[in-house]
Amino acid sequence: MSDIILETQNLSRHFGALMAVDDVTLQFERSLVYAVLGPNGAGKTTLINLLSGEIMPSGGSIRFKDQDITNLPANAVSQLGIGRSFQKTNIFPNFTCFENCRLAAQSRMKGSFSFFKPALSYRQINQQAERALEMCGLSMRCHTLAQAMSYGEQRQLEIGMMLATGPELLLLDEPLAGMGADESLKVIELLRRLAKEHTLILIEHDMDAVFAVADRLAVMVNGRLLETGTVAEVRASKAVQEAYLGAEDEH
């Protein structure tokens, strides 16, 4: 089963009595794009937080490329090649765009840190940061402070920082949240390009975007996995239509 890059077994996480993620068993195939769908509070972000090591599971296990990563902290998970972007912009606002990405790239520096050599003299890391800025479309903003940019650009930087660490598997928590139409198109284009070389797992409410990039869907409701499969399969599923649309009706 070497084409399975990531899998979860009976993964659970509860907060007090609330089962945020309840007994989720999922397999992610290499180089496909997965979209996790579900109404608010379905446990999508908690799932991503579990996969990235941000929070520890209450039960079950996670395997990444034949390695058990269930209890690894976020920094160790990141070092294995799982990158993530956050739903709420999570950047270094008073650093320049370049420094945001450079710091991300620097995390992959081999061996221990140097205490005396200037950080900017590591050419490979600078190049990695520049490449990430180029991919997320912020090359022009290289020397701009992150806090001085528009919200949409900060969202792009969020993705750029993730890319600068050179991950194999990308976990994207609502990459399009709060973006304008133009910016959304750019990011969807970027996701498509990334999909050629990476495995993507994304949470997204924008259905057009989901259908444009996703190969597989996973639908969650109340912490449970309701349905998985190809876009057509999930669309045809009665259970999904009832649960998902039912939940929507409540609004």
Partner: protein, 329 residues
């Protein structure tokens, strides 16, 4: 990212030249006072590495300063060794070791708990030295021979001479400043500044945040040890109060007063606080009231400290202020 603007660099150079020439004109009393200020400047800079650059608010920093002082006292009183060639490295190593142990335990907490736990550890050390008669108890130690720097029987530097000590302290202060400035531009320095701004994201990007904090804590502890070595040498007197929470609070006030995260600001903070205390303490018994009012005034009207004021003024009068968007604060 840490960056010194060109105008402030010029001011710093002028100040350094002034300090280098001061012993030619200064009175004996003020040469000793300036030595104290520079030692406190090193101490305050070391705390700035934690507060201003790593985001670790330690309220027990005097522990490392005090422990180094006791190393000096131990060498002279208990071992009869006066050579600074042994003393300084041991003092710095012992401070670093204490910082490693205290830091290893403390950095598991954050926020208010980190402040409290560092305070508690410093108070424990304070109580230890206060209670042990071997360590001089409440009185500490007075010693009459001062350290010197010797190779074999040749004395290179007699630290009992106040001008010699002044210049040694000056050199150590400049070295500390340069060391920290270089450190802050290194990958490690950039990483700890990242930790201060957004610890969670650093972790998500693969950094071992705990290690970064611990390394910073140990480096700061060792530099505080350098300052403790100088102060013990200068006064030939150590006592447990050097590591009490008053001392830790005092150095924190210097950092805040001078400007956190500016590196040279804490030196100015040490200067302002010490000179002010020296001038008004003889005027009025309740001089601490004036001191308190001064600190409150600075914090209220100059939230970025004395260094912030300098940066603001130089930027206003600088010929070509770089466009705001392009500068790193």
């Amino acid at each position: 990212m840490y960056r010194i603007s060109r105008p402030s660099l010029v001011i710093l150079l002028v100040m350094a030249i002034g300090l280098a020439l001061y012993p030619f004109v200064g009175e004996s009393y003020y040469i000793r006072l300036m030595t104290k200020i520079m030692a406190l400047g090193i101490f305050a800079m070391s705390l700035d590495l934690l507060i201003g650059f790593t985001g670790l608010i330690s309220l027990g920093h005097a522990a490392f300063f005090g422990v180094a002082s006791y190393v000096v006292a131990w060498y002279i009183v208990k071992a009869g060794v006066t050579n600074a060639l042994f003393m300084l490295p041991t003092a710095v190593a012992v401070s670093g070791l204490c910082a490693l142990v205290i830091g290893w335990l403390s950095i598991r907490t954050s926020g208010i708990y980190f402040i409290m736990i560092t305070l508690a550890f410093a108070q424990m050390l304070h109580a230890f030295f206060k209670d042990q008669s071997y360590w001089g108890g409440t009185d500490g130690f007075n010693f009459y021979t001062k350290p010197n720097l010797a190779i074999g029987d040749t004395v290179l530097l007699d630290l009992g001479n106040k001008v010699t000590l002044y210049y040694v302290t000056f050199a150590l202060m400049v070295a500390t400043f340069v060391f920290l400035a270089v450190l802050l531009h290194s990958p490690f320095g950039r990483a700890i500044q990242g930790v201060k701004v957004n610890e969670g994201r650093m972790r998500a990007m693969g950094y071992n945040v705990r290690n970064l904090k611990l390394m910073s804590f140990v480096i700061a502890g060792m530099l505080a040890g350098v300052a403790g070595f100088i102060e013990a040498t200068r006064t030939a007197y150590v006592n447990p109060e050097m590591m009490s929470w008053h001392a830790s609070g005092n150095v924190m006030v210097m950092v805040i007063l001078g400007g956190m995260g500016t590196l040279y600001g804490p030196i100015l903070g040490a200067l302002a606080l010490t000179l002010l205390g020296d001038n008004i303490s003889s005027l009025w018994d309740h001089w601490l009231l004036i001191m308190g009012a001064f600190v409150i005034a600075v914090v209220m009207f100059l939230p970025e400290g004395i260094a912030g004021l300098i940066e603001g003024v130089t930027q206003k009068f600088g010929k070509k202020p770089p466009p705001k968007e392009e500068t790193e604060p």
